[in-house]
Point group: C2
Chain length 431, copies 2
């Protein structure tokens, strides 16, 4: 058996504690699978005295300064579980690489913002920078895209990348509840952060999407190129109308290569009820990869939580222990394409539009006239005007049209007299 | 860029032609992802003159004898696509390894029967023996179990491992058709072989299951230890009754470690309609892995076909080109446990029982008396006796009981006078 692999863990929050418990509980199994022992030789966290729900490994030295841990002589692999795109997390990773350590991180924000430059640094020092846990918790989707499907050009990659949003949407549908109420409940249950803005605003999903996009399309990680809309403005009535029309609303991250460049978007979508992605409910995540040879493969599982995330962190450590190594984004970072961004206003698709308008003669005529003027045709309408003179909802699905054209239509419709609220628009995805 | 990786392909059937097309169409992409070129330097097949739907690579020498190809000096990786557990396939793989070649194969039968000894040979000569394409076509499930989920003890692994059976069952349900008619149609469409016995008899699924079991549980590949029942005896009425009771019938492969040893079984199962595995229809395959840390992950995709299988063959070649290597079953074959077989007659579960019995006074009393005698309790019954004196179907679901006990019950029931046909029994799986 080779020498033990010595692990330093920076960050002892939920995931860090899961990692330490896993390493301890499955010590023998891991040693057998790796052909060598995995030993925690260093740990670091903000508060040494905080009560913790695990036994600190007696092999581990304590570091108040995580950057000192990242430089420690008796550490081969630095596990960064501090989080955040800047500050300590970035310092730890950069320091560790510069000191010739292998690095494992669960930090999607760091990779989404600095992925390309960190990859370049890792390659320069010939060390691993692994991040299976950064995308979709316990689902080994990074490995699937980078290795298992490496023979494919990807026609499309998409998925449910944020469990909090999927939980909220599932609850809204099941209980007919409004967003704010479900969010509050999710926070109480620990499914949503006290500051949920990264999750519900689509930022977290966009971080993950930008990483998957780079791997799948061999381009630089460009979080700033992701078009993002969150789920904050969805209403129970949207979910009900969608259902009536044969759809479910999901927050998806979607990436593909178009003639104009790389398209990356995160936004609520109407997906047909009978598609596999529509069946993925609750905190579960799912990624669908459509390869030109493999066809459509789907990977489903828990997207967050101490134990699933620890599973992926350890998978990376096992890879390192087994000597499996490659550039962080599969090909050398110098070859990652600086691809143009496929402009969102040229995106083409069908739309769900919910209007609130006064139930009076000519209301619909004004709306359909605007749509006809811009050559946007209507696929179906739900109109139940039973309150003459009062505001009623009207829902339309359009045929395929261009985003920019749709924006002009909505602008003009919003200005019409019988329209009492801003139109609500959700894109439709048919796979 | 490193030296080109030189590939010899033995077998130019459906998968072989897919591999050659993929290598040619995505030559540049693969060179970029591997950091070196992939060049086909040798090919072999039974009939050189057979018309083929691809251009033979002009870099490739022809070999009438695949074992000569396996020894060729200018071949680094031998791809075995001949098939079959014995004969040429086995010879090619053994010859290639003995000559120090890396080996990639899509041959589930070979691995299921000779996996442990071939792994020992590969380790002895320090070469790769890769087989992603042997299990579930385009789904990278070998890599997921071996690497992506390497941190887990598996509580259970199960899945739809045979697309032909799943297609037949889906068609039987959708059209209310009988097995023989759907099989004939599947053969016409190319979804079933002209000799379908390996597929419909559960052998193919059992081959795949035994490979997954070895990887997941660190034990020797034991195809002979798999309990196998096929789908030949299922009727449209079973599928209809199952549906009425809230279940769908799937041919599953299931493995887990019990106190008595390793349990491996392939048989039709009633699975609750709302479970994800019940939603997998047609030729699609799916594997569910339940890890003690990762939780439940599911991998879904095309289980067969030239292009998906080629995708997985090339994924293995890419791994080799990238220098990723480990023992074939993740841990050295000398450490693979020779685990006891968990005896099937000790299996415990619930059962679906369909009886055909004469609609006459006392019929059911006789049956329930036998069940009571053996302490097998009934969960629900569908009985629609509307033909006094004629034979009618009666369907029962039992509560959990032991296989051996159930066998005794069925034996006694079959001997009862009003029972006109052998009882039909299907195990129920609730996940």
């Amino acid at each position: 058996m080779s020498d033990a692999l010595r692990i330093g863990i920076a960050g002892l929050g939920t995931v860090g504690s899961g990692v330490i418990r896993l390493l301890s509980e499955q010590e023998k199994l891991l040693a057998q699978r790796c052909g060598r022992e995995l030993v925690v030789t260093a740990v670091s966290a903000r508060d040494r005295d905080k009560p913790r729900d695990f036994d600190m490994p007696d092999t581990a030295a304590w570091y108040d300064d995580p950057c000192a841990l990242a430089q420690a002589d008796d550490v081969d692999v630095v596990v960064e579980l501090v989080g955040g795109a800047e500050g300590p997390a970035r310092e730890i990773v950069e320091t560790a690489l510069r000191c010739g350590k292998q690095v494992v991180t669960a930090n999607k924000a760091l990779l989404a913002i600095h992925g390309s430059s960190l990859a370049a640094l890792a390659e320069k020092v010939d060390r691993a920078l692994c991040y299976e846990a950064a995308v979709c918790g316990g689902i080994p989707v990074i490995k699937a895209i980078r290795e298992g499907l490496a023979a494919n050009r990807f026609e499309r990659i998409y998925g449910i990348l944020n469990g909090t949003c999927n939980y909220i949407l599932t609850q809204m549908e099941e209980h007919g509840a409004e967003f704010a109420a479900v969010l509050a409940e999710a926070q109480q249950l620990g499914y949503a952060e006290s500051d949920p803005s990264f999750d519900i605003g689509g930022i977290d999903a966009a971080h993950k999407l930008s990483i998957l996009t780079s791997l799948a399309y061999g381009c630089q990680v460009r979080f700033d190129a992701v078009f993002i809309e969150g789920i904050e403005d969805l209403t129970a009535s949207d979910i009900r109308f969608a259902r009536e029309l044969g759809y479910r609303i999901k927050l998806l991250g979607l990436a593909r290569r178009t003639e104009a460049g790389i398209e990356q978007r995160v936004h609520p979508c109407l997906v047909p009820l009978q598609t596999p992605i529509a069946e993925v409910s609750g905190v579960t995540n799912a990624v669908v990869a459509v390869g030109n040879y493999a066809g459509q493969t789907m990977f489903v599982g828990p997207g967050a939580g101490a134990e699933p995330t620890a599973s992926s962190v350890i998978a990376d450590i096992v890879d390192i222990a087994r000597g499996l190594a490659m550039p962080p984004f599969a090909t050398p970072s110098s070859t990652l394409e600086d691809a143009p961004i496929s402009p969102m206003d040229r995106w083409q698709g069908a739309y769900y539009v919910r209007l609130t308008l006064l139930d009076q003669p000519g209301s619909m005529a004004g709306i359909t006239a605007v749509m006809a003027k811009h050559s946007v045709s209507i696929d179906s309408i739900i109109q139940r005007g039973r309150s003459p003179g009062a505001a009623v909802p009207v829902v339309m699905l359009t045929h395929k049209t261009e985003e920019a054209r749709m924006a002009r239509v909505l602008h003009e419709i919003a200005a019409l007299e019988p329209v009492t609220e801003s139109p609500r628009v959700i894109r439709i995805e048919r796979f």
